[in-house]
Symmetry: C2
Subunit: 216 residues, 2 copies
């Protein structure tokens, strides 16, 4: 009876405990991912190890390695996680679409490429270009994030993609956004960027055709 | 008499020797700069030291340090040197200007951002973003190279810069070129790039106004 009781008690405790434990585990994972991105953006690949990130996240090294057995696991997961968060945030900015205000869409797309996520991703790309272990994973991740960003851009710009030239117009816009991100790496380029965004939003409007009714 | 003779002989030898010595020194300097860019592109900032570059250039470490006392001196000089060579090469491509063929100019500008120089510059920018010693010099260098590239682009595109929006149009084009360079870092992006260049050359032609006569 005592044994049964014990077993019951243990089972009960385990069941009761399971949900918070999963929550805790998820919260730990998320803290590690966010710390990894911040660390990569600030210190670059060379200065970013699992130990440094674990300390920053306030997580034991063992727990960090339980979630992410290798440094490559941690950093590719981190950049992917934040990129997904950004995609969600971008879509949330324009819940009904934003066809009428292409300037706002261009500005929001360009914003994806400034700030800590872009810096972190840039460090990861540059490290991957010289490290054989990292390259395939980062290349695959980059292709996935790139496709998703392109899809969102086409939607928000109300671009008629099958029309000749439209696909390449949107691709070039995202390349421009990436280049603006790079230009912002060493200096605060916000003012110049503002002018470029305004001008290319106009050119884009001409290229894609007006979507607001009545115009032209 | 012997002393005078000696002095004369020494003077003569020195004079005769001076020109080749300067040539040799210049050649050594250039070998170091080219080796530095190749090294930076292949191994990144962390893997690029004066010693590694000297060995690659076949120059003694002492001679390398005579030309470039610090690592920062060597690598900023290297990226500047190659950027200048590229600017000269770009102008030489279109000796009579290229107003009639904007597609060719856009392609040539984009070419500036692919290949080893861009990779080397990218490593330098990323390293500079995390290293206080390097940042001011790289920022200043980047501003100088950027202005020069902009000037060449305006010339070759026959862009009427005082017209509103033209400056920002050209800036956005160069940002796009930089972004295409970044997209080419991990994978061979030549085919996609080709399509973007063609389409953006068309957009640019519309934005800047046709320059070939007759084409309204």
């Amino acid at each position: 009876m005592g044994a049964v009781n014990s077993a019951n008690t243990i089972t009960t405790v385990t069941t009761v405990d399971r949900v918070p434990k999963q929550d805790r585990s998820r919260a730990t994972r998320q803290r590690l991912l966010e710390a990894a991105v911040a660390c990569l953006a600030e210190h670059g690949w060379t200065g970013s190890t699992v130990a440094v990130v674990a300390e920053r996240a306030g997580v034991s090294r063992g727990a960090a390695q339980h979630h992410f057995p290798t440094r490559e696991d941690l950093f590719t997961a981190a950049v992917e996680y934040v990129a997904e968060e950004r995609s969600l945030a971008l879509r949330a900015l324009f819940p009904q679409g934003a066809a009428g205000d292409r300037r706002a869409v261009v500005a929001a797309l360009v914003d994806l490429y400034t700030g800590p996520l872009f810096r972190a991703a840039l460090h990861l790309w540059v490290a991957a270009s010289n490290e054989d272990q990292l390259r395939p994973r980062v290349t695959e991740l980059e292709a996935r994030v790139g496709r998703e960003t392109h899809r969102i851009a086409v939607d928000l710009l109300a671009a008629d993609e099958p029309r000749p030239g439209v696909r390449e117009t949107v691709q070039g816009l995202l390349d421009m956004a990436r280049g603006l991100g790079l230009a912002n790496l060493l200096t605060d380029d916000a003012q110049r960027r503002e002018g470029v965004v305004t001008q290319w939003a106009t050119l884009l409007d001409d290229a894609l055709g007006r979507v607001t009714d009545g115009a032209a």
